[in-house]
């Protein structure tokens, strides 16, 4: 008979407030197999855990039920607690009587009755638990970082500095992401190049980092410590081993194309480096616009190239490598405000631009060498209007969330504008100024002192008048209608996830929230981890944030990876499927449904009824199996069962619920 100890947590008053603990304790004492019931203010606290350990010794308990908060919160804590007791960490069940009972049912009578049911279910299940033991999984000590923005760069550098090889995959021709496009960064007003460029060069020169530019992850199999990742390296049409990056081909290339990097403000060639300080600092050929491909003419670059590094016959290459850990840093994109805000001209007015375009204009290495000019006529604008929260905090037309960084880069733009344009006027329409970082509010105060006029209200409409733009808004503080005729309008638009993040999330089993941001395991407990072991998040892929947070999160994710690589081996998940050989008829249905290809059919020799018989049975690779249980539901004769969630345990739980 099992000797079950049940520990009821008050969780302060979180549970005790709407669940009658004494009545719950009385009812629990009646349950078959229960030999000891104890109530405690905080089970997860040190005294709480100590009480459990002590009662295991005093009363010879061999199974534990803890009625407390969600197992997703402290199942790991209580399992760790059991490692130094005589009870196997998996002889434990948790009844969730907080998030799914006391917090959601005001009526104490109904709440108590439900709590009793939940505890009875947990006791019935733990009665059928069996001790489980972990086994060791080897770790491939190489990391994969997806996304070459500042977050990816920082993470790659930290891991490489710790001595582990890293592959940095970037979809664009060069790493650098959005940060490298910026002019200055708040709050210190360092120029972005002074921070980003050196890091990019470190990455470029680092012996442990291999950059795969113009590449995307295509296929992933395996699990933590042993991911097998196939990466598609798109054709660059240039042999990087020979190319010296001299740029001769770029000069002579006849076809001009609008540069995505310069956000349409300038042109680039068909063979191009996106920007001067690009890393890898070698050009690629844009097949869609290169006349050799489109009209089979030209080929100037091939003729001129001194080291003949041009390869028109280049093709995509598929590289498959083993990785122990993955950091997803796919970054963000600004929303396409033109399709959302017709009242701001829907993109028809050339001088109504978004923040990144303004960054290119103000950037010294930008198309205008840092002179603030209007994209339409190149004249210097005297009056600029900046509109905040365009698409953010706007659940009806755009995104419901706040994009966090725009208040600060808005203030930065105002400061830079007033700095560069002598008698410039800068009007900033805002809803709330969110400057909550270190030195942020002081930065905002300086901008006010520079003479920026902050008007609390949204701009309702912009329409051109002559070469000016009339912005009509309402100042909600003085509740007066305000019209400003501006030469230039900068919209601080909302951030949204990179379009490729959805596919990356699907490949690694990382779910996305309603807005498409990759979901972290737990906002406070495990902010940089995901629910897929061995896959971590860094930067704006996880949600809008500014550069300081991105870098901090990147180093945190890198620390997690380095932490894992320092282990000799990983502990495997013991809650995996097992095959009852006698009962397996070898039909192979389970092989079709296993997402991890963890089941294989094997021909075996068995002695049955005193006759040697050869037959096929299913065999499970305990390393690959992640314990999802899909095979158990496809096996008609229940030859496959999932440890920790066996058929018997589940049926016992259902029976207990219905008593």
């Amino acid at each position: 008979m099992s000797r079950i100890g049940v520990f009821l947590c008050h969780c302060g008053t979180n549970i005790a407030a709407t669940v009658d603990m004494t009545r719950l304790a009385e009812a629990t004492k009646e349950l078959p197999g229960v030999v000891y019931v104890e109530e405690n203010k905080y089970m997860c606290s040190e005294p709480g855990q100590q009480a459990v350990k002590q009662s295991i010794i005093d009363r010879g308990i061999d199974r534990i039920v803890i009625a407390s908060c969600s197992p997703r919160m402290h199942e790991l804590t209580f399992r760790k607690m059991l490692t130094d007791t005589s009870v196997n960490p998996y002889m434990l069940e948790i009844a969730n009587i907080r998030e799914q009972c006391s917090w959601v049912h005001k009526d104490k009578e109904a709440g108590t009755k439900k709590a009793i049911d939940l505890v009875r279910m947990a006791v019935a299940k733990v009665d059928r638990n069996a001790p489980l033991f972990t086994s060791e999984i080897p770790i491939t000590k190489r990391a994969l970082v997806i996304g070459g923005g500042i977050a990816g760069i920082q993470a790659a550098l930290d891991i490489a500095d710790a001595g582990f090889p890293v592959t940095l995959v970037e979809k664009e021709p060069s790493i650098g992401g959005k940060m490298v496009m910026l002019d200055k960064t708040f709050p210190t007003m360092d120029c972005s190049a002074c921070i980003c460029a050196p890091k990019m060069n470190d990455v470029g020169a680092h012996p442990n980092i291999e950059i795969m530019s113009l590449s995307e992850v295509e296929e992933v199999t395996g699990y933590v410590g042993n991911f097998t990742v196939t990466i598609r390296q798109k054709a660059k049409y240039i042999d990087y081993d020979l190319c010296t990056g001299c740029g001769l081909c770029e000069q002579k290339c006849p076809s001009k194309v609008t540069s995505e990097y310069e956000r349409g403000l300038a042109k680039r060639k068909a063979v191009y480096k996106p920007f001067a300080q690009a890393v890898p600092s070698k050009p690629i050929i844009d097949a869609k616009n290169c006349r050799k491909f489109t009209e089979d003419r030209c080929g100037v670059c091939e003729k001129l190239c001194t080291v003949n590094a041009i390869r028109f016959d280049d093709e995509d290459k598929l590289v498959t490598l083993e990785y122990g850990a993955v950091i997803i840093a796919t970054g963000y994109e600004l929303i396409d405000w033109t399709s959302l805000y017709g009242e701001y001209g829907a993109g028809a007015y050339p001088d109504v631009i978004d923040g990144l375009t303004f960054e290119r204009i103000i950037n010294a290495s930008g198309p205008t060498e840092g002179h603030i000019v209007r994209p339409s006529d190149g004249k210097e604008p005297k009056t600029v209007v900046m509109i905040k929260c365009v698409g953010s905090r706007d659940p009806h037309k755009g995104k419901a969330y706040c994009s966090r960084a725009c208040c600060m880069y808005g203030a930065k733009h105002a400061h830079q504008f007033l700095d560069k344009i002598a008698d410039g006027e800068c009007y900033v329409f805002y809803m709330d100024v969110r400057a909550m970082g270190k030195g942020y509010d002081e930065f905002y105060m300086n901008t006010l002192q520079d003479g920026a006029t902050y008007i609390r209200g949204r701009v309702a409409k912009i329409y051109p008048e002559g070469d000016k733009y009339i912005c009509i808004g309402e100042d909600t503080i003085s509740s007066k209608i305000v019209t400003v005729s501006a030469d230039l309008v900068v919209l601080d638009t909302a951030m949204e996830p990179q379009e490729s993040a959805d596919a990356i999330g699907r490949l690694f089993g990382v779910s996305r929230d309603l807005d498409g941001w990759l979901t972290e395991a737990h906002p406070k407990l495990r902010p940089v981890e995901t629910n897929t072991a061995g896959v971590y998040l860094a930067g704006t892929a996880q949600g809008p944030k500014d550069i300081p947070d991105c870098v901090a999160q990147a180093s945190a994710a890198a620390a997690k990876v380095i932490g894992m690589f320092c282990l000799k081996a990983l502990e495997s998940n013991p809650m995996i499927s097992v095959v009852d050989e006698i009962n397996c008829r070898g039909c192979g249905d389970c092989v079709d449904v296993c997402p991890y290809k963890a089941i294989a059919m094997e021909t075996v020799e068995r002695r049955e009824n005193s006759v040697w018989v050869t037959r096929d049975i299913a065999v499970i690779n305990s390393g690959l199996c992640q314990g999802c249980g899909a095979c158990t539901a496809s096996c008609k004769s229940s030859a496959l069962d999932l440890l920790g969630f066996t058929n018997e345990q589940i049926l016992q739980e259902v029976d207990a619920l219905c008593l």
């Binding site: 078959p32 049955e608 029976d655």
Partner: protein, 341 residues
């Protein structure tokens, strides 16, 4: 005394007042899926139920009334440390009306097993005491009937309390036991004077010589005949469950939290787990061993212990075996196999 056929309904109504009257009735109103095939059994009589005394043999035998397919042995309840057991008491008061000779012979076999040889099965005993069996002589045979091969007389059912013999427009009722005579008094108002008619001459499609069957079977225990025969067998339980004389049962329990009951339910020796023991040891692991055991028990082992064959020749298993394994052909084959080697 003669019971006129038109009085049968009112007799049954009267009897139904005193006890549960089980009469042959079709229970699948919609008939079988294969056209008009009817499935019949001994169902409690209610006014207006489709009584069908014409059925030569019912699909479900009267065994149901004495050894129900599932029967609770006792129930238990645990309160804290102590457990209380409560026995099941079933005061049966039923009349099996229209039992053929083959079924009556089978009931006699069940009586041997459950009531004799030192151990008396109390549940069966109570039921048997509370049961009045009214035999009904056959007036027709089906192709698979071969009760005469076991020296049974289709007109007189062994061990019945009252024997009815068809007399054209009525049934001649005679009491064969004291219980029968008492019961017959109650029938008086429905009976009229009449002489016992000579039972109709029935012709059977075949008759087998089963005299030396037992010994012959013993000699062919290791014969490969059983291997080919068992290849056809599916290992289902149809033959055992429709057979009027099969009595094997399995025991299990159904518990709900800290209370429940233990029950017994029919088992078939052809099932894989019939003789499965703890640790997956099975003395009869293959279909051949199980099927051979079925025929050996029916025609040889039972005879060694009780003196008569356990097969009454009703032919239900011949009709209903999914693959047409025919006990009468097996009996014929025994002649051929034994003569051969």
């Amino acid at each position: 005394m003669i019971l006129k056929k038109e009085k049968l309904g009112s007799l049954l109504d009267m009897l139904a007042g005193t006890a549960t009257v089980l009469v042959p009735t079709a229970f699948n109103a919609e008939g079988g899926s294969e056209g008009g095939e009817k499935a019949t059994g001994f169902l409690p009589y209610q006014a207006g139920s489709a009584v069908d005394l014409g059925t030569v043999k019912t699909t479900r035998s009267p065994k149901d009334a004495l050894l129900p397919q599932t029967e609770t042995l006792y129930s238990y309840e645990q309160r804290g440390e102590d457990v209380t057991l409560t026995e099941t008491v079933n005061n049966t008061n039923q009349i099996l009306f229209g039992v053929r000779s083959c079924d009556a012979y089978s009931i006699a076999c069940l009586d041997e097993v459950f009531l004799t040889r030192t151990f008396v099965d109390t549940l069966y005993y109570e039921r048997r005491l509370g049961t009045l069996i009214v035999g009904l002589g056959c007036t027709a045979t089906e192709r698979s009937c071969f009760c005469t091969s076991f020296e049974l007389d289709p007109a007189v059912a062994p061990g019945v309390d009252i024997q009815l013999t068809d007399a054209g427009d009525g049934y001649f009722a005679e009491a064969l036991t004291t219980k029968g005579t008492e019961a017959l008094d109650a029938w008086k108002p429905f009976l009229t004077e009449g002489t016992k008619p000579t039972p109709a001459e029935l012709e059977f499609t075949f008759k087998l010589d089963t005299a030396k069957l037992g010994e012959q079977l013993k000699t062919m225990f290791e014969d490969p005949y059983w291997q080919d025969l068992s290849m056809k067998c599916l290992g289902c339980g149809t033959c055992a469950f429709v057979c009027p004389s099969c009595y094997c049962f399995d025991m299990s329990q159904n518990n709900k939290g800290s209370e429940g009951y233990r029950f017994r339910t029919w088992d078939s020796c052809t099932f894989v787990d019939y003789s499965m023991m703890a640790g997956f040891h099975n003395p009869r692991p293959t279909k051949m061993k199980r099927l051979r055991n079925r025929f050996m028990h029916k025609l040889c082992f039972y005879q060694e212990r009780y003196g008569n064959s356990l097969c009454c020749g009703c032919g239900r298993c011949i009709e209903l075996c999914p693959v047409g394994i025919d006990i009468s052909r097996v009996i014929e084959d025994v002649e051929r196999v034994v003569a051969h080697d």
